[in-house]
Symmetry: C2
Subunit: 284 residues, 2 copies
């Protein structure tokens, strides 16, 4: 299979649109990757639709969001495409954590470009989701180059850094229970130590709370966070990003949702709000 070639794995009609799963060879990641795109009814070469990129959390593939979030109903109504990539490079040639930990290696790419061996030859999820994948999507499907990004947990971190590092590239950004300051929490410290090495200076370009200090664009951020989330105090700590946002004047709304946890039951409950928020920016 050549770079750029797409192999259809599955296609299911849903809410009048189509959920399509593809395999392709990623030049950036040096392996085969799978993603799912939802195309709303009416998307055509004559009427291309904007794209919302969804970045998933630790252990997920493209399927968690696609099967559990209930996003297609709203995307169909609003005329938005949804794209869900995997969360890391995959395959036999791709190194995994020797202990098969859930929070490093396969399923835990952290949306950065690794600099340390053996990770640096495959673990380049940042370049994949910011550049290679959108280029492919915009060539192969009836979508426009109008984009936004959202994600959950590790993928919320991904969404925030993609937006903060790329002024003008996304029309909207939001997150569910994001890791906002990976340098300060165990998940991020483990991942950054492995992928980037022990020089903490190099970590700063992949940390939303650092990047926000000097962001060239003040794209508003919407965050939902459950107050019964088991990871809230140890890994997520939205108050750190809130403090930076208040200090530098970055527009940000953090909604603490009483009783909700870290699961897709939480995401499903508020995905409609997020997609309407994105649609306003994507179509405004």
């Amino acid at each position: 299979m050549m770079t750029g070639e797409l192999t259809l794995v599955a296609a299911n009609k849903t809410f009048g649109g189509w959920n399509k799963r593809y395999r392709h060879t990623s030049a950036t990641l040096g392996c085969e990757m799978v993603f799912t795109i939802f195309l709303p009814p009416g998307a055509s070469a004559e009427s291309p639709v904007p794209v919302v990129y969804w970045l998933s959390g630790l252990t997920c593939t493209d399927e968690n969001f696609i099967t559990k979030a209930g996003a297609q109903r709203i995307a169909a109504e609003l005329g938005l495409a949804l794209v869900a990539p995997d969360t890391s490079p995959r395959g036999e040639d791709v190194p995994d954590d020797p202990d098969k930990a859930y929070d490093f290696g396969l399923g835990a790419g952290f949306y950065l470009n690794a600099t340390q061996q053996p990770w640096s030859s495959h673990y380049r999820m940042y370049d994949y989701v910011v550049a290679e994948l959108p280029t492919l999507i915009e060539q192969a499907f009836p979508v426009s180059d109008v984009r936004s990004v959202m994600g959950h947990s590790m993928g919320g971190h991904g969404a925030l850094i993609c937006a903060l590092r790329n002024p003008g590239r996304y029309c909207a950004v939001s997150a569910f229970a994001p890791i906002v300051n990976p340098m300060a929490v165990p998940w991020g410290q483990k991942a950054f130590s492995g992928y980037l090495g022990l020089d903490r200076q190099s970590w700063r370009e992949w940390d939303a709370s650092v990047l926000m200090e000097t962001a060239a664009e003040r794209l508003p951020i919407l965050i939902d966070q459950g107050d019964r989330d088991d990871f809230l105090d140890t890994q997520l700590r939205p108050e750190i990003l809130q403090e930076v946002a208040a200090r530098v004047g970055h527009p940000m709304t953090v909604r603490m949702q009483a009783g909700y946890d870290h699961s897709y039951y939480f995401i499903a409950s508020f995905i409609e709000d997020h997609l309407r928020y994105h649609a306003e920016a994507l179509k405004g």
Copy 2:
């Protein structure tokens, strides 16, 4: 664990209500069973809510519907509880198909009471979903005794026979891609031969197309069926039930949905219509 005792396995807030998963010992089935109940916001002893029972298809557990159908959003709005049982008895003591086939034994209880050994001591899903489970649910949760039933594929068959055999017990019945005439199709013939034996006369009380002929109650039936469903012509054959309904005057609507398949992507697309249809009957 004693009969009637419920052990909470998981609880997740969603759409303002609670999704709760329980384990209990079923006297009817002679094993431990797991089910999920969704309780909408506002359900209380003072304001008990009606219950929609969802019966799943081959290979499923309670989780397929609960995680993939997107039903909680609508049930929360309409003030309905949802109950999703498993599709067969489970556990080490429960006999399974010797070939581990997906369409017989574990995950394939067919919502009947088996009469043949070794199945008859555990495979009594009909009595479980019609009697034991509702009794338990109505004792343990803030719900009323106002019930309806719906299901998918094998569970569509289950919903139809539960309603047709029990005049007055359900306020509404509907199905997605149901097996409507198990006696006439391979899935049903295999299951009925095993669970009920080779005397086809005994099969008739578990077949919707037969039961409808002499049903004491003409409870209207709503069916959605995808026209790209791989099982449509071999296993489902809704036209058989349509012919009976027309002949005996049983009110039934079959909606052929263009382009849809047998998956939860299909169910999710039309679950809102079904729940609104049920709510009207449950609250009317």
